[in-house]
């Protein structure tokens, strides 16, 4: 029973996907959007609840011949993916040409399934399969709007770069197997006990694939083009769940398989983290399109989250996980708002947001909350998350990295505030905002309210969330 329990969320996800497929042919056109959207979101929430009640791991356990590890780390990230997918499904409901297609919801579920396997993988083969299982649905979702050139370009770009980096990573995996004779992550550490040409080479190859996933410098360049072209909720899902999946793999793979080389790889990651933050923030400064701006900002956030991994300690890993909790909530909210607004305004230019606070003051307030949380302001989640990663960095002597992070936060604050200025200060041409209200549909009201409450809860009552993150980090060290 316990082995089935370990893949309970995955089984349920598969069942939900099948239900969606079966439902699809029986639905009349007028009801498709409502039924498909609510069934997917509701089903995901139910899976979330059932997993939390019945699927909780006890002592860490290798299951299915060592393919998966049933522990808090994997379980917690599975919950993140279920949550992000549920929120994204609600966002899907208001994107034309996406909301009536069962395939879109199905691909979302398939990606979530792949991610939760990524989080639990304890074997290189399983890991590779899980990564592909995640990536392929996401390539399709990115290019889902086939009549839209930008969306097609986005999907195709994502596919090309994704396939390339995954291949490089696969090559790294094969070298690992060739030299160590094992594919189990938990058996690798003894084979990589000292730094030599082989371990350095393997590390670089594997890192390439994972750096792409989390958009770490220098493999960050795809993100803006892909996010800009993809439907906004897909971009939101990519920038949160997919990135978190990359992080959990980095945590597990590097900490578990290469502990003896930690001094070497933390140095590399520290430099990459600093560059990622700086490049992301500096380019974000000049963006005129909000999706591109958020893409660069999410690159920068990958850099901040990496600081905790660089710190290489329980506190560091916990703070990275905590960072991801805050970041998932915040960035989903940001992309949700972009979806909701873009639908009415028909534009993703930042200048289109003029007068938003007079057109819909609640949506403007939501934007304020999520952007200030991204900037790292209390009482929102982003503040505590940033302070935690900096605390972890300073504990382990990475004062320079904390300083780089702090300087980057200042740059970040500047461009986030510039957007809020447009929202609150500038007015529409003609100053007749009352004539152009921005209506929100029910799925948006529900999902955005939920996210706002989440952002504030994480920012104010941070201890319980941190304890979760810490419980997961305990599985690593």
């Amino acid at each position: 029973m316990s082995t089935l329990q370990s893949i309970l969320p995955e089984i349920l996800l598969l069942a939900l996907a099948v239900i969606i497929l079966i439902l699809d042919p029986f639905l009349i056109e007028a009801r498709r959007r409502l039924v498909l959207g609510w069934v997917t979101a509701g089903g995901l929430v139910a899976i979330f609840a059932v997993s939390l009640l019945a699927g909780r791991p006890g002592i860490p356990l290798l299951v299915y011949g060592g393919m998966l590890r049933f522990d808090w780390l994997g379980f917690l990230f599975t919950l993140f993916f279920l949550f992000s997918a549920a929120v994204s499904a609600l966002f899907f409901m208001d994107v034309d040409r996406l909301n009536r297609r069962a395939e879109a919801y199905l691909l979302l579920l398939a990606a979530a399934l792949g991610m939760s396997l990524m989080a639990a993988s304890a074997d290189l083969i399983m890991l590779y399969l899980a990564i592909e299982m995640t990536s392929i649905p996401l390539y399709l979702l990115g290019g889902f709007l086939t009549q839209d050139e930008k969306s097609t370009e986005s999907g195709f770009k994502y596919l090309l770069f994704g396939a390339l980096t995954t291949t490089v990573m696969l090559y790294g995996f094969s070298l690992i197997y060739g030299f160590s004779g094992t594919t189990s992550l938990y058996a690798l550490s003894s084979h990589f006990s000292k730094l030599d040409a082989l371990s350095a080479g393997v590390f670089i190859l594997v890192l390439a694939g994972l750096a792409f996933k989390v958009s770490l410098f220098p493999l960050q360049f795809w993100a803006p083009d892909v996010y800009e072209g993809a439907p906004a909720p897909v971009a939101g899902f990519l920038s949160t769940a997919s990135k978190a999946a990359g992080f959990v793999v980095i945590l597990r793979l590097f900490v578990v398989a290469f502990p003896a080389l930690s001094a070497n790889w933390t140095t590399i990651l520290a430099v990459l983290s600093a560059l990622t933050m700086t490049v992301g923030n500096l380019i974000a400064l000049t963006q005129k399109n909000i999706k591109r701006m958020l893409a660069y900002s999410s690159i920068a956030h990958a850099g901040y989250a990496m600081i905790g991994i660089v710190a290489y300690s329980q506190l560091g890993a916990s703070s990275t996980i905590f960072y991801l909790i805050a970041y998932i909530l915040t960035n989903l909210a940001a992309f949700g708002i972009v979806t909701a607004f873009g639908r009415v305004a028909g534009s993703d230019e930042i200048s289109a947001y003029r007068g938003l606070s007079r057109r819909n003051s609640a949506l403007a307030l939501g934007m304020l909350v999520s952007f200030l949380s991204l900037a790292g302001m209390p009482p929102f989640g982003g503040f505590v998350a940033k302070v935690l990663v900096f605390t972890a960095a300073i504990q382990n002597g990475y004062i320079w990295l904390a300083v780089v992070g702090v300087l980057n936060s200042i740059v970040g604050l500047y461009y986030y505030l510039n957007v809020l200025k447009v929202v609150y200060l500038y007015r529409m041409e003609g100053e007749d905002e009352e004539q152009h209200p921005v209506a929100l549909s029910r799925p948006f009201v529900i999902s955005l309210s939920l996210l706002m409450i989440g952002i504030i809860l994480v920012g104010v009552l941070f201890a319980p969330w941190f304890n979760w993150a810490h419980g997961a980090a305990l599985n690593l060290f």
Binding site: S357, L372, T391, I394, L413, N418, K421
Partner: protein, 490 residues
């Protein structure tokens, strides 16, 4: 378990802000009344705290402690001492008068008061926090609403520039201080952010010497210390009246207070090493601020630069590290807070009616606005440190302290009193007396009842404190005693 009065004070404004955001945008009257009632409640509670603070016992009182994040030793820990109790009271006063003065705001008053009250909660939280992490938490909350308040409701010509400049300056200062605070956290080895524990952490002298400038200067940015004062006059001028009052009246004290609480009190040896540098910078503040103020032609810039000069006196008082200097600085924070709130309120009233702040274009305002003229005259007397007003009891000990440390500095700093007297009196004469320009004749409406109450309240406090220093000096002295004991009983 006593009534958690400090938590109530800190969280009342933010709860009111959330409540206001639930109103409909056109329920302007309900918003204003909620704001007024909330500010009244906060003032009432902070007055109770102030007067029931037991000076004989001293130390931190009304202490509340709730474990917030045990893993890192973060707790929600409130308490006031003789230095922070007056500042909590000051915040209550400025909140109430600020709401009264902003009664007439027509553009989105709901958002205006909500942001203002978020800010107020942040400010109160910093004054009451005894936990370093929470102090930063509230400090940042006090910073960001400023951006919106200034950029949306500010003076149209400079608001975007000034708001961004101010926010970035303050944010840079706070994050620099934050790095210092985290360094302290790990250095102490106690795994706690509790400042009462960190006060006795006995950091090595070399550590203190390295990190003191980060922490002190980081906060001193908000205190307006030269050369980081640059944001402040622009910010004051661009801000709407109530925000200028809050800003100069309370927020700058926040910086000075945090610099004292975190910089000097936790890193006393560092303070001893660096106090000459701080003195030098503060001296520039005092004299240079006064000189610049004396050549301004914009009424609001005059007050903005005079704030820089007066906050220099606070920093100077800190830097002396003497009983007299610190006591004076503590009193100056309160006295200047009230005075500058009054000045900005008065400037706002004049500007709302004359639609200009250009001093040469004003004149004869005492005729239609007699109460404003009286208020500004009282404020000017306070500002020059005239005996019988609160400015005197604050500035006199500061100068005593400076003299005790280095008499040359005292002589140079005293120049500022002469300069201040000359420019405030000149401004009073030009704005309120003489002939009113023809184009203003007949356009000056009288001020309303709320404006009058606010002015009278602020004036009464300044005169009352000047005549009865015993209403505040003993409080501040108990606080200073504690600081001195941390400095090694000097």
């Amino acid at each position: 378990m006593h009534f958690p009065i400090l938590s109530v004070i800190v969280f009342t404004p933010v709860c009111a802000a959330l409540l206001m955001l639930l109103y409909k945008p056109d329920q302007k009257k309900a918003v204003r009344i909620t704001a007024l009632v909330t500010a009244g409640v906060v003032l009432l509670l902070s007055t109770i705290v102030y007067f029931s603070y037991n000076k004989a016992v001293a130390g931190y009182q009304f202490v509340e402690k709730y474990s917030w994040m045990p893993f890192l030793g973060i707790s929600l820990h409130f308490g006031v001492d003789g230095l922070s109790a007056p500042l909590v009271l000051l915040t209550g006063i400025v909140m109430l008068t600020g709401v009264m003065i902003s009664w007439g705001i027509e553009d989105r008053p709901r958002e205006f008061f909500a942001f203002l009250f978020f800010l107020a909660s942040g400010v109160l939280g910093v004054f009451a926090s005894l936990d370093l992490f929470m102090l930063f938490f509230f400090y940042e909350i006090a910073v960001f609403p400023m951006y919106l308040l200034i950029s949306i409701w500010g003076w149209i010509k400079t608001r975007e520039y000034a708001a961004m400049k101010l926010t970035l300056y303050l944010f840079i200062g706070s994050v620099v201080a934050l790095v210092g605070a985290l360094a302290m956290y790990w250095q102490s080895g106690q795994h706690t952010f509790d400042m009462l524990v960190l006060e006795h952490a006995n950091f090595p002298v070399s550590f203190q010497n390295v990190w003191f400038p980060f922490v002190f200067l980081g906060f001193a940015v908000l205190g307006g210390l030269f050369p980081f004062h640059n944001w402040s006059p622009d910010g004051h001028v661009a801000a709407p009246t109530a925000v200028s009052m809050f800003h100069a009246g309370v927020l700058m004290k926040l910086g000075a207070f945090a610099a004292l609480r975190v910089g000097i009190m936790l890193l006393p040896e560092g303070a001893k090493t660096w106090h000459w540098v701080i003195m030098g910078l503060a001296l520039v503040n005092i004299v240079y601020g006064a000189l610049i103020a004396s050549v301004q032609t914009d009424f609001k810039y005059v007050i903005g630069f005079s704030s820089v000069s007066h906050m220099g006196l606070v920093m100077m008082g800190f830097a002396t590290l003497t009983r007299e200097g610190l006591t004076g600085a503590g009193l100056q924070m309160f006295s200047h807070g009230v005075m500058t709130a009054l000045f900005f309120a008065a400037v706002g009233m004049v500007y709302d009616r004359a639609h200009t702040r250009d001093i040469p274009k004003l004149g004869g305002m005492a005729g239609p606005l007699p109460l404003v003229a009286v208020g500004v005259i009282i404020g000017s007397l306070v500002s020059m440190g005239m005996p019988g007003f609160s400015g005197f009891i604050a500035e006199f000990p500061i100068f005593l302290g400076i003299w005790k440390t280095q008499w040359v500095v005292a002589v140079v700093a005293a120049l500022s009193i002469v300069i201040t007297a000359s420019y405030v009196l000149l401004v009073v004469r030009r704005v309120f007396f003489g002939r009113m320009p023809a184009e203003l004749e007949g356009h000056i409406r009288p001020i309303n009842a709320f404006d009058k109450i606010a002015l009278v309240l602020l004036c009464a406090i300044m005169v009352g404190l000047g005549l009865f220093p015993a209403l505040m000096v003993p409080w501040v002295q108990t606080g200073v005693q504690h600081v001195l004991s941390l400095l090694g009983g000097a």
